[in-house]
Symmetry: C2
Subunit: 471 residues, 2 copies
């Protein structure tokens, strides 16, 4: 294949406001997408010389290309161009632009594309390089070779028995839940769990309480299902339900508030249980990072205190990989059966081999070893990023206590600062996007991929952006 002629790409322009690395990244991506670059890219040294750039700049651009999935970079080898991809955020008309969807459908579509945007250090993204690929491939292969029996067709639509059993055991022991395997529904992930619950447990027009700022996935699913949303203020003790109106559903992230990272205090846990008791509402307890938590999590899930009124959600997205598309619902006993029937008609099924691989892996000692390893690494990266941000005048935030993202409030200038970070390839999100009421300004950044080099570059871009935009 013909190597890329560096003379055919636009040299980055120092007079433009866009960082040189981003300009180079865009030129190279364009060359790849139009088929001018195939095979391998020149080494960063060659490119740096040819275009009069520093090698750091070129490496940053290559890192962005890798995050985009446009090239594969292996140690010591030149970046290899990967086959072109059809992007989810490609130039298709956005929701509502040309009709076609019903008003209800536009409710379901709202903000759906934006959430797939990606970028380095995007909120909630784990680090792919820590995914145990060989081990997973081995389990997949074994699962693929096995006869599946009744599970081959539609019998185990809400999850194969082996996975439901191991999940019930782990959630009982690790999270203090009261759960039998037949209360578990395996779903294609938390987003599917949320839309199933919103559609099956509430009517359009029913009230739901959600944290403010809170998880956009819950907001989008509840909004799609036509619920009215009432924001609950969040402070260092987590969500505050005092004065909350009666509601059908309450959505909380008690173990690690998403995205701000607080843990629900004991006092507030009592408040939540009193509220459930008084109103008969159902609590959706999103235990999204329960599969790994890297500080002592001595407090059990709320589900264990009120198993008839709490529906707990979990996911394999953080401990393993979002693209596995495996999550689970722990449903109260009297709801599990009907919910399973609704799951069947909504079509929320999960690939059987992925389920079997997860069940087998979770049942092995190596799963715990994997969790310990990523918990250590994410802990270090999260604390390093928080420390680097605290070193910037005007920013203040605590060390994260779990999860794979942290939130940091800004004194102002959110839109420009987020744009600058995104232009530089970061998946950083605006805190205002996590609000349904008056927007709060801030940044939400993932830290699972936050290596020392990336933190350096990130804080450099951020410092410059703060100087330009934060007044």
């Amino acid at each position: 294949m013909a190597p890329l002629l560096l003379t055919t790409i636009a040299a980055p322009d120092r007079d433009l406001p866009t960082p040189l690395a981003v300009q180079l990244y865009r030129s190279l991506l364009d060359a790849i997408r139009t088929g001018r670059a195939t095979g391998s890219l020149p080494s960063s040294r060659k490119t740096a010389i040819a275009l009069g750039l520093s090698r750091n700049t070129v490496n940053a651009a290559y890192d962005l290309l890798r995050a985009e999935g446009a090239v594969d970079i292996r140690h010591g080898a030149a970046p290899r161009v990967l086959p072109p991809k059809v992007s989810d955020s490609a130039a298709l008309p956005s929701a509502g632009a040309r009709g076609g969807l019903s008003a209800r459908g536009e409710g379901w579509a709202r903000d759906g594309i934006r959430r797939s945007a990606g970028g380095i250090m995007a909120p909630g993204h784990p680090d792919e390089t820590l995914f145990p690929r060989d081990e997973w491939a081995m389990h997949l292969r074994r699962a693929g070779r096995r006869r599946q029996g009744a599970g081959f067709a539609y019998a185990d639509y809400s999850g194969i028995p082996a996975l439901r059993s191991v999940l019930a055991r782990r959630l009982t022991i690790d999270r203090g839940m009261q759960v039998e395997p037949d209360q578990i529904l395996v779903t294609p992930g938390s987003q599917a769990s949320l839309s199933l619950l919103a559609l099956a447990l509430a009517e359009a027009g029913d009230m739901a309480l959600i944290e403010e700022p809170g998880y956009p996935g819950a907001r989008n699913a509840f909004r799609g299902a036509g619920l009215r949303l009432c924001p609950l203020p969040v402070d260092a003790e987590g969500a505050d339900l005092s004065g909350a109106p009666p509601a059908r559903l309450v959505y909380l992230t008690p173990a690690n508030q998403y995205p701000m990272g607080h843990r629900l205090s004991l006092r507030r846990r009592g408040q939540v249980l009193d509220y459930l008791n008084g109103t008969g509402a159902l609590l959706v307890e999103d235990d999204y990072d329960s599969e790994f938590h890297w500080q002592g999590r001595e407090i059990a899930a709320l589900q264990g205190d009120a198993p008839d009124q709490v529906i707990a959600l979990g996911t394999a997205a953080k401990a393993l990989m979002p693209a596995l598309r495996i999550g689970w619902i722990v449903a109260p006993r009297h709801i599990a059966g009907p919910l399973r029937a609704a799951q069947r008609n909504l079509g929320l099924g999960v690939n059987i081999h992925a389920q079997a691989a997860l069940a087998e892996f979770m049942d092995s000692g190596r799963y715990r070893a994997h969790l310990r390893r990523i918990a250590r690494i994410y802990g270090e990266r999260g604390r390093a990023l928080a420390a680097a941000l605290r070193a910037i005048p005007g920013l203040d935030l605590p060390d994260p206590s779990g999860g794979v993202q942290l939130g940091c409030r800004l004194p102002g200038g959110e839109a420009g600062i987020v744009r600058a970070l995104r232009d530089a390839g970061y998946g950083t999100a605006a805190l205002s996007d996590y609000c349904i009421g008056p927007p709060q300004e801030g940044l939400i950044t993932g830290f699972a991929e936050a290596t020392a080099e990336r933190i350096d570059r990130f804080t450099n871009v951020l410092r410059a952006a703060l100087a330009s935009f934060a007044g």
Copy 2:
């Protein structure tokens, strides 16, 4: 492990109306579920002698246990008891029995459990023994070991580029569709496709036309989404739209009417296109068995004639395995983008390794060889079952021209006959369950698993049941 003591199980009673094989099957299943039978079951010879039964009866019972997933039977070895399963149709309360779900949720739950019932020769079930396990396991392993890049998280939520490309190519060539990869949405199967379309393209209260008899999955999804359903009569030319009221959605299975097996005639194709033209309705063309069709299918998909008004559905369930949970939507260009956003918020994602394995397998010559093989076998089995049924006085039906099930009308006694077949372990369904208007009586039976021995047993049970119930 202790072998099963045959003296501990109830001996089948010839005076009961239930077939001896079914009685034995139930006793053994009970012994397995309560833990009295572990390890291996006695050979059919030993069991036959101990209980005074014929070996055929014992083998039939063992075959039922295998279909249930309770035992594994290998050539020449005694049946091995498999670990107990949590059944989807377990003794949980059914929808609405104790509340918990909203009225909308009960709409979604309706008939959801019944559809997972299973049994041998259930409608729409392929034969697991024909699934290319080793090949699939190899592709899965390769996919598992690969770096996924941007697809690792949420970027390719509507399907990985490799799969969308190969699907677009195949659907263009094999089915005459007008489709680019970015019009394809990969979903967790046809049921997910149907609920996405119903929620995103129509409002509650909108009218949808569906075939009568027709596919229960479409009925359940549309009903869940609150659509009003209008039945279209089906005859030997397929569905008849003459006099149909204006509607938002029309659901048809033109290539092979589900469940009766007719192909939409050329005249009726014209009628459908005129209707779309006149009303602006959207057609959902369920091309569910397009991945393999075992008679010349010279007529292309309707999608190719009206790509802006037709949404085509496909699935890997028939050619490979339902539990892969992979289907796809071919959306009109102006709808694809917003539909993708709605898919994201509904959480209808598919495991990435299964997608990659399918893309790689479809792209290999061995996929065509697999399709040719199953088409030949299913063709033989379908014709053999149809011939065996025609040999029964009072039953008449044509040879099936595709699919993995056939429909046969009954002169009466449907309920009793279906019960007798289900008691004997068959997944045969009542035609009346496929109707929304006045019930039509008949049987819907899968033939993918219809070996000669099973056809014999099936027709014996059916003859006896017809004598008892068909007046």
